[in-house]
């Protein structure tokens, strides 16, 4: 499957580097721009699936770039800015940006916004079924199936399982898992997490799935 291409337009080197590392880790192909003279041409030339555009740029203001870009192409634009006011958000949207996010941002939230834009703008489905050792997890319908059996997951369980599969082979700390759940606006506490984990394990077991979520005491969870 072709990877989605994301172009980062930001004049801060650290941000470019770290953001690129994260997005590549999440399975996107990243194009990084480090000269800002003809940004619009560069974008049109590379024709990415999405542009992450900073507003404060040398030579040209991000708003102008967005406006120019909109005249010539409908490449989705996610505007990133440190000016977190209604006026700025309204302006971004009026210039045809697809979304607006304020600095500093949480990477999970950024990724959720990115995939929402891609889902909206690309007719191609963003990976809706995740496979893990014969188990298939349908993110859109919230179902899991293994061999002949299938089951319905709650929103909590679905999010937990998909995060564990994304990080398979790594220990996921409780705090990380919680932060991920909270970034999806599921504000659960410690007990709820434990209860949901127990239910998830039970569902996996009932379907006869051989692997299970291991608990590493004091460290977190692990999906081998």
């Amino acid at each position: 499957m072709n990877k989605f291409e994301i172009m980062i337009v930001d004049d801060t080197e650290t941000i470019r580097k770290e953001l690129a590392a994260f997005l590549e880790g999440s399975g996107y192909q990243v194009i990084v721009l480090d000269k800002f003279i003809n940004v619009v041409d560069e974008i049109l030339h590379k024709n990415p699936n999405l542009v992450i555009l900073d507003i404060n740029l040398p030579y040209a203001n991000g708003y102008n770039i967005c406006r120019e870009l909109r005249k010539q192409a409908d490449i989705p634009v996610l505007i990133v800015t440190s000016r977190n006011t209604e006026t700025d958000e309204l302006m971004s949207m009026n210039l045809g940006a697809d979304d607006f996010i304020a600095k500093p941002y949480n990477l999970h939230i950024l990724e959720a916004r990115i995939s929402a834009i891609l889902r909206r703008t690309k007719k191609t489905q963003i990976q809706e079924v995740i496979d893990y050792k014969g188990l298939s997890l349908n993110v859109l319908s919230g179902t899991i199936s293994y061999e002949e059996k299938s089951d319905i997951l709650t929103k909590n369980e679905l999010k937990m399982l998909s995060f564990l599969i994304q990080n398979q082979g790594k220990i996921v700390s409780r705090d990380d898992l919680m932060e991920y759940m909270w970034s999806s606006e599921l504000f659960m506490d410690d007990n709820t997490l434990s209860v949901n984990m127990t239910r998830l394990r039970k569902k996996l077991k009932q379907m006869g799935f051989p692997e299970t979520v291991e608990t590493r005491r004091g460290l977190g969870y692990l999906l081998p």
């Binding site: 209604e86 939230i109 504000f187």
Partner: protein, 342 residues
């Protein structure tokens, strides 16, 4: 200005004239001058004097009455010298000139301070936006390298971000410009954003957060309200109790308003401190005990709420918890607009 006041003012002058005349009259009587001559002298002496006085009274009255009336009725009394009619007698002209000069110098002075304040505010805003970039960079580095150390740094970074935001809104709260945009927005969306911002603190403190009872739309600036909620959540995290920490958000609709309540089960606020929690720099017993309070958070909330026409009230019981209510008015105009759309 009343005639009697004016005459009282001229009392000495008139008395001296009367005394001098009586002296002259006495001399004339002694010299056996005819009574009629004395009367004529009286008229020659006093007719111009009284006419002049009355004329002056009329001139002054029109200027001074206008001055008094304007100073009482004008919204900004200092604009008086701009509005008042220029008088047409010497004394008045001089007063008028002095008033103008004093006013001009005051306006220059006010302008100076206004410019300085605007300058400073713009600087704070620029500074805040500048510093957001390194904060964002640091945040990205931390997110990409998660471990116990960076998690600790991350929490401190969030605090820095909160303080920076506070400085920004403090600067905004003090200026005259309307720096917000009112639109219809869902309370649940704003609440979610505010909770997400505080996710790390709330998770670390093991708060149980419930916002399932938040519903409805209000007309306001969502960014400002998010900041206000952020401060309130920050307080709940700061002044929480040992165990079973809870934070419950709920809404209630009244006839003319919608009320968002934020209820925690923290240490509460002593009754004697309650009246002053919205005062600037007031830290109260809790602030002294915890030593982390600046007395700015709630003061700023109140100030921003006032600007947005949101009511804010606080109820608290020691060892039970605190509830903050934000009261969003539902204007008649909006209702009319909605009916109209139907």
């Amino acid at each position: 200005m009343k005639l009697t006041d004016y005459l009282r003012e001229r009392l000495v002058f008139l008395t001296v004239n009367l005394l001098l005349f009586s002296f002259l009259a006495t001399v004339m009587l002694v010299l056996k001058v005819r009574i009629i001559v004395i009367f004529v002298t009286f008229f020659i002496w006093f007719t111009p004097l009284i006419t002049y006085s009355l004329l002056q009274f009329c001139q002054q009255k029109s200027f001074l009455d206008e001055l008094t009336m304007l100073s009482e009725s004008l919204d900004q009394a200092y604009l008086l010298s701009e509005v008042v009619k220029k008088p047409d007698y010497l004394e008045g002209k001089l007063y008028y000139k002095a008033l103008k000069a004093a006013n001009r110098s005051m306006l220059e002075r006010v302008n100076e301070y206004q410019t300085a304040q605007k300058d400073y505010r713009e600087y704070v805003e620029t500074w805040v936006h500048e510093i957001k970039t390194p904060i964002a960079s640091a945040q990205l580095i931390i997110d990409n390298h998660k471990n116990e150390v960076t998690r600790g740094i991350n929490i401190e970074l969030k605090r820095i971000d909160n303080y920076v935001e506070q400085a920004l809104y403090y600067a905004k709260s003090n200026t005259v410009n309307e720096d917000y945009k009112i639109r219809e927005c869902a309370l649940a969306a704003i609440t979610k954003k505010a909770i997400s911002r505080n996710a790390q603190d709330l998770i670390r403190q093991n708060f149980s957060v419930d916002m399932s009872a938040v519903e409805g739309n209000v007309n306001t600036d969502p960014k400002w309200v998010e900041f206000i909620l952020n401060q309130i959540i920050g307080n709940a995290v700061k002044y929480c109790r040992e165990d079973a920490r809870k934070l419950v958000f709920s809404t209630k609709s009244e006839k003319n308003c919608r009320i968002l309540t934020i209820q925690d089960n923290g240490i509460g606020i002593p009754q004697k401190d309650l009246a002053k929690v919205f005062d600037k720099g007031y830290t109260g017993e809790n602030g002294r005990m915890f030593g982390k309070s600046t007395g700015i958070g709630l003061y700023l909330c109140k100030k921003l709420c006032d600007r947005l026409r949101i009511g804010i009230s606080l109820e608290s019981f020691p060892a039970k918890g605190t509830a903050v209510q934000l009261i969003f008015p539902i204007g008649d105009l909006n209702m009319i607009a909605k009916d109209f759309c139907k």
